[in-house]
């Protein structure tokens, strides 16, 4: 009866929550409950090790050490559901730190002997004490988050765990490349198929022929049907490896606007999957949405689809998608909306007088969009040859960009409060002006310049003449060479906002206002991580904009990231997911999504994972401080 409460509590405590009920019952029967008034010393530095494991049931403690100079250094705060004395379980060394209660505190006590027996019986408990927390428990935390959010728990996560090979069971009709057009057409008719894959003598697919090709390239042009089928096939064959996950296939279908995807295994045809197969897997499909956007002819039509996109988010979250997968798919769809709007604008105002490239930046630029985010966009034009061309361009884009801005608002993308939009004349400029913008920010790194570069340097081309964006990117990366002062100031700003290291009691929450006692997950957690990664990317002059891709690239070349890259990726996934789930819950309740999270809504596992994520970020920040602010660039 009284042990039931112990079991219930242990179910919220890491690592005990990973044990089965009967094991928890057995543990609860050997548990003591102790009470310590405020300011009780539980462990003393240099004193004997703890002879038990304490689990804080209520209250909080500080962990601290006194340095040689007599200074007290607090290393951690622990609160409800956290452990005291677990190092002593494995060593008989003197305690390295002191532990004191900050308020009246209740602890459950498990003796060292009992604890060692539990550890021997359960390897996963041992792992917890020995291994990096983040790596080990990220999945469990995400799982918990999914099941907490959703009434309907989807345990199978099909889209993200099923390799496409599993679905590609449909036989593919293929013909060898030396087959004649006539023979191929006959085969297609016999099998009642609208397309056929062309393979070489090693069964490697080399191209595809569709009904359309037969119509356009053969009949309309009167081509001899005895010719080889190779002469009319399209060679840009879009395929997926059978080991790729279904969501990756889905992404390709959205990106290329296709409904069939060829699946290859070891280079050979394995089968074909269709949008329909993926739909069967998950009930409905983002591909359909992409297609729907494609066929729209009015902004109203696009807006209607755009405003229904939360249902896709719903599917993705329920499927158990990782944050990075969700943002990839959402960014892909948002890109499509934007492209459609731009196409409609070009249709409305006629072709632009000069070539231009529409770029996006901020979270859009990093492909880290979740729900509808503020518009962050700009235009790079080709340099005008004449004054009149310049004037005409200005006139054209002045109307054009306002139309695009308003259309995007209709689709649910609010205007950027900082006015970082192409509708602002400052952000629609010829390439030469853009280059001088970037150069001046890098050469004269004032605070505003750094702020602008943080936003704009994550730019990515969406529509129009991509070579303009590529040229600007090249200019940016070359300009950065040897610009230590710029990097130094950016480094300073990067370490300015530190993620909170100890949450309990001192959890950095808003002190007043409408978000009192909540913390801002974007400002305190996500941005610091994105910022350190951007700094390193600029330092190593890497062109990728997405945080995860940057980390991936930096792991090849950057010493800090080489060591911490995996941890940083886990931390990013976790924080991003926390933000997504939070905003999704707000949306389903009919609230406007924000970034303010109430720490009381978090489970112990989430708190612990968030804490570990912060420690990773602050270790990276420390390395930045050591290198930039104390090291070679001091002064």
């Amino acid at each position: 009866m009284i042990t039931e409460d112990v079991v219930k509590f242990l179910k919220t405590v890491i690592p005990f929550q990973f044990l089965k009920e009967d094991e928890l019952i057995a543990i609860s029967e050997k548990t003591l409950l102790e009470f310590y008034p405020q300011n009780t010393i539980l462990l003393k530095q240099e004193g004997p090790p703890s002879d038990n494991l304490k689990i804080i049931k209520k209250g909080s403690v500080k962990i601290y050490a006194v340095s040689n100079t007599g200074e007290e250094i607090i290393t951690d705060y622990r609160g409800e559901g956290e452990l005291i004395g677990y190092l002593s379980l494995f060593s008989d060394n003197k305690s390295r730190v002191s532990v004191m209660t900050l308020e009246d505190t209740l602890c459950y006590i498990i003796s060292k002997t009992e604890m060692r027996a539990i550890i021997d019986r359960h390897p996963n408990i041992k792992d917890f004490f020995h291994q990096s927390f983040l790596k080990k428990y990220l999945d469990k935390t995400l799982e918990e988050m999914h099941s907490k959010t959703l009434n309907k728990v989807s345990g199978d996560m099909l889209l993200f765990t099923t390799p496409v090979g599993m679905l590609a069971t449909k036989g593919v009709i293929s013909v060898f490349q030396d087959t004649s057009i006539k023979e191929a057409a006959e085969i297609m008719t016999r099998h009642e198929i609208s397309s056929v894959v062309i393979i070489d003598s090693n069964a490697v697919p080399v191209g595809i022929v569709t009904d359309r090709d037969l119509r356009k390239k053969v009949i309309a042009k009167g081509l001899d049907t005895r010719n080889s089928i190779c002469s009319i096939m399209s060679v840009s064959l879009i395929k997926s490896d059978s080991k790729e996950y279904c969501f990756e296939a889905l992404l390709k279908m959205i990106r290329y606007n296709i409904h069939h995807l060829l699946i290859v295994e070891d280079g050979k045809i394995k089968g074909i999957i269709t949008n329909h197969d993926l739909m069967m897997l998950q009930g409905s499909s983002p591909v359909t949405v992409a297609k729907d956007i494609e066929i729209q002819q009015t902004v109203d039509g696009v807006a209607q689809i755009s405003n229904k996109l939360n249902s896709i988010m719903d599917i993705l979250i329920k499927e158990g998608a990782k944050a990075s997968n969700i943002t990839k798919i959402m960014s892909e769809i948002n890109d499509r909306i934007l492209k459609k709007i731009l196409t409609l604008a070009e249709k409305k105002f006629g072709p632009p007088p000069t070539s231009y490239c529409w770029i996006v930046f901020g979270s859009e630029g990093r492909k880290e969009q979740t729900f509808k985010t503020d518009q962050d966009n700009a235009i790079i034009c080709a340099d005008p040859e004449t004054l009149s061309e310049d004037e005409e361009t200005k006139r054209y884009f002045s109307v054009f960009t306002k139309y695009v801005r308003d259309s995007l608002v209709m689709c649910g993308f609010p205007v950027c409060p900082g006015n970082y939009m192409a509708s602002n004349p400052k952000w629609r400029q010829p390439i030469s002006v853009w280059k001088s913008y970037f150069s001046s920010w890098i050469n004269v790194p004032k605070t505003e310049a750094i702020l602008a570069s943080v936003i704009l340097f994550d730019f990515r081309a969406i529509h129009g003449d991509f070579t303009l964006a590529e040229e600007l990117k090249r200019h940016l990366l070359t300009s950065l060479k040897g610009k230590d002062m710029f990097l130094l100031l950016m480094a300073k700003m990067t370490v300015n906002v530190k993620p909170p290291l100890s949450f309990f009691k001192t959890f950095v929450v808003e002190k007043d206002g409408m978000h009192k006692n909540k913390f801002n997950i974007k400002f305190k957690f996500l941005s610091p991580l994105i910022n350190v990664v951007r700094l390193f990317a600029l330092e190593k002059r890497i062109e990728e904009t997405s945080t995860l891709e940057r980390i991936e690239r930096l792991m090849e070349s950057h010493d800090t990231i080489r060591q911490m890259g995996d941890e940083l990726k886990h931390a990013f996934e976790f924080i991003m997911m926390m933000k997504i789930v939070h905003q999704f819950n707000q949306l389903t309740k009919g609230l406007q999504p924000d970034n303010y999270i109430d720490p009381n809504d978090l489970t112990n596992l989430e708190k612990k994972t968030l804490k570990e994520s912060c420690q990773v970020i602050s270790r990276v920040q420390e390395s930045i401080e050591n290198r930039y602010l104390l090291g070679r660039l001091s002064g």
Partner: protein, 242 residues
């Protein structure tokens, strides 16, 4: 003085019952005063925190309906080491009391009689100091059964949580505080005291959960007691015997 007297009485009882045919566990209860070190610190002593549910408050007509007990050593509560028995009552359950304890007549009638439970209970209390809230009433009913079954009272030292609480609440420190009998007796019930000490309370009375609540209050009282110079078991019994 009273200690010596108690011990003397106990010696006589031991002599009287030496050759009687009673269970060893019960007979052992007569030797308890020899087992307890009265100079032991209140933080090292062994306690058993008890509570009973009764059919009513009249010790002649009513009887024990359930007994709950939790073991403590110093300030530690042994979560898995508890005692809880529902007793087949010798009298009819009154509707008013059923509402309080929630034990139905049928449920109770299927339980063992107090005659079987007493030896188990005495064994659970072996070597320990009994602690309870308004413990006098519980002890009165226990002793009624003890007398009937064995002819003597339970011999464990007994301390009362309410007495202890009133001492802690009284600002004045020193002997005066202990002899002042004008202290307003039960003003606060167990749940009110529990809330004051921030001990979680679940509604409904149950001998075990009430014993556990009592134990948690006692646990929180210990630091306050030593602040008032109450350090040994002897000190504690002096000030808080019922």
């Amino acid at each position: 003085m009273s200690f010596l007297f108690t011990k003397y009485k106990n010696k006589i009882l031991q002599g009287l019952y030496k050759n009687k045919d009673i269970k060893p566990a019960v007979y052992k209860n007569l030797k308890i005063l020899e087992e307890i070190n009265f100079n032991c610190s209140i933080y090292d002593a062994s306690y058993v925190v008890i509570d009973t549910e009764l059919t009513g408050l009249d010790s002649k007509g009513d009887c024990i309906l359930s007994i709950g007990a939790v073991r403590m050593k110093g300030g530690s509560i042994y979560m898995g080491d508890y005692f809880y028995r529902i007793v087949a009552p010798s009298v009819c359950l009154r509707p008013a009391s059923i509402i309080i304890h929630g034990i139905t007549p049928k449920e109770a009638s299927e339980c063992p009689s107090i005659d079987l439970i007493m030896p188990e209970f005495i064994d659970f209390c072996k070597g320990k100091i009994i602690v309870g809230y308004c413990i006098a009433i519980d002890i009165e009913f226990i002793n009624k059964e003890m007398k009937r079954l064995y002819g003597f009272n339970i011999q464990n030292p007994v301390i009362d949580l309410l007495k202890m609480y009133l001492i802690i609440k009284k600002k004045k420190v020193g002997c005066d505080a202990f002899v002042d009998d004008n202290l307003a007796m039960p003003t606060a019930n167990l749940f009110e005291i529990a809330r004051e000490f921030d001990v979680p309370v679940q509604e409904g009375h149950n001998a075990l959960s009430d014993a556990f609540i009592t134990a948690q209050i006692f646990q929180r009282c210990l630091p306050a007691l030593s602040k008032r110079g109450i350090n040994t078991i002897k000190d504690l019994i002096m000030v808080s015997k019922p």
